[in-house]
Symmetry: C2
Subunit: 404 residues, 2 copies
Amino acid sequence: MQPSVPYQPQESTPVQQDFNTNYYAGLYKEELLDNILPFWVQHSKDEKNGGYYTCLNRDGSVFDTDKFMWLQGREVWCFSHMFNKVAPRQEWLDMALHGAAFMEKYGRDKNGDWYFSLNEQGQPLVQAYNIFSDCFAAMGFAALDKAAPSDRFKEIALTTFENILRRQHNWKGTYNKAYPGTRSLKGFSLPMILCNLSLEMEHLLGAARVEAFIPTVLHEVMEVFYQPDKKLIVENVYHNGDFSDSFDGRLVNPGHGIEAMWFIMDLAKRLKAPALLRKACDIMLDTLEYGWDKQYGGILYFKDILGKPPQQLEWDQKLWWVHVEALIALAKGFIYTGDPRCAAWFKKVHDYTWQHFRDNQHGEWFGYLNRQGEVLLPLKGGKWKGCFHVPRALYQVYSTFEGQ
Amino acid sequence: MQPSVPYQPQESTPVQQDFNTNYYAGLYKEELLDNILPFWVQHSKDEKNGGYYTCLNRDGSVFDTDKFMWLQGREVWCFSHMFNKVAPRQEWLDMALHGAAFMEKYGRDKNGDWYFSLNEQGQPLVQAYNIFSDCFAAMGFAALDKAAPSDRFKEIALTTFENILRRQHNWKGTYNKAYPGTRSLKGFSLPMILCNLSLEMEHLLGAARVEAFIPTVLHEVMEVFYQPDKKLIVENVYHNGDFSDSFDGRLVNPGHGIEAMWFIMDLAKRLKAPALLRKACDIMLDTLEYGWDKQYGGILYFKDILGKPPQQLEWDQKLWWVHVEALIALAKGFIYTGDPRCAAWFKKVHDYTWQHFRDNQHGEWFGYLNRQGEVLLPLKGGKWKGCFHVPRALYQVYSTFEGQ
């Protein structure tokens, strides 16, 4: 891996005329190919036990050996995706196959549900209480099946997908601590991910089945979770769609709302629905404006829609994934609608992100900054940060700007 | 309630000779009686539905109406304790009885286990997955039974205590997400709380039963969870006592270790065991030195014993309870051992705490500061902060300095 070249901000120029998408496309592609992917190829592969280490220090050395299924599945997806979309490099396919073999061997319980975590050798540590483990496993195996078609990969992806559908309305099962009936809330994450996952699995599910998911997701996101009076999406609402004045009901996660809007923009493009595209772009910009920290810059992690104190102590921190999802959404917003606000915001978020998250010394990007923008944890990967959001965003931004 | 008088630090004087315990005793007692208790009497009582509001804004107004059983039980304990130990004020007894009536009516499931939370009207929101709800309920009813003896209060305290003992080795029950056998860790909290609780219930359990708990707790805390090479207590170890090199096994919570040490100092005093007292005082001072933030002052919330990145994003924050527990431990350390380091540290922690946590404008104390010492959440109470740590600490410090 080459040492990273320090990032130098572009000279400031009037944005609208001179928003140089070619410049950013080149920069993002180079960062993906020369910095991010080599870091994970070099540091995350567990040659002895299989699977990936994701708890990596600043210099890539391993600080913890536990294997979290979210991140195993996401890394399989990432290397498969790069093989499928960027270049058919054997090294990337090998990385994906390496993680998939470990997941296939150790990842599932007797019901076929995916554990939350395993130890280094593959023994289960935390039960299959979290359906997002299954979502990222299905996503990984579906992408891998495009890179290296296999009946086994297809079967794992499809069986997992059917299990997710079967469990989707009560996925916490016996681990659900909510008392039934008093305050039945539904979350915004699962419908979003299901839609995204079905698109990733379109070659296995067929277009008709994928398209059957779309109207529900559009309705849920744009009409149920979206609060028109505040122009914001909340994370949880009552099952009947009503607003819940509770910690969970008041919670806004700006990064999550912004991420959802680039999914919706992609759907709108597929559906050739310009009004929907316009609406998603506007919600994205409103959310960004709301989440932007006017005092220190960067996007806050959580806010309470009524301005009350959130219960999340980390509410004021700046997380990598929030910022890179915003960059994807702004790139798509600009290319799909031409809205100059997207260009101005892209430049602003880009400068913050590259100046604060990128590690010019050891490669890859930091994940967690405090409100002031200083590094809070010097890790490159951990329990939640792996080989996923940064490379996906670099790919999405450069390919969007290249008009792919 | 009177407006708070701004806190003025004492003139700096050489510590050892001039550590004015009378000054601090007066200050802490006055703060308890004139600021803290009136705040909760005025703002936390739900006159309509019963029980206490604990989610209070800076000015005491209610921002959320959910009722968390930890905090209901702790507030019953607090007002009962003040009635028992400080002055038999009817207002305090009424406050305790008010919360106990709500808890008795709505707080338990059909097994007699205490729910984690209820809504404003007392309907269950979150199941009885957390045994500390039961600990604080038993503690509250036992203290209330001293203030207003009643067969009902005795029965609730005793039944709850027996339930805790019955559940103690598998208290998460069906909510336990750990896969059995791969990494079986035990936590440091429950043995500590059980010991403390049995002491609180001595009038119901009898001295012999209480004293039967003591050797186990002393062994667990001082020999099993304490790591002599690092001179620190970890939060979790293997069931056989081995150190676990994992996120949970490496976790140090300095405030928790310091709190445990004042419990141990009290036990050592009861047992007339000066060597144990000395050891507990030394561990407390080592933990404080380790947890103290050399850059910004204050005590950090979490650290990793091997210096690795902790998984808690809030690791660098300054929490009220950590600081007030340290003040109790330092007051006891000074009075019980005469160690001048306790006096010097008391002054330092006192100054930080009173300057940063106390709200000179609206009364009571803030709970959550960022690393820099600025207010992170302007609340006076929430899901975890209620009428407990601050008043208990003010009482413990003044009564220790008064030699009670």
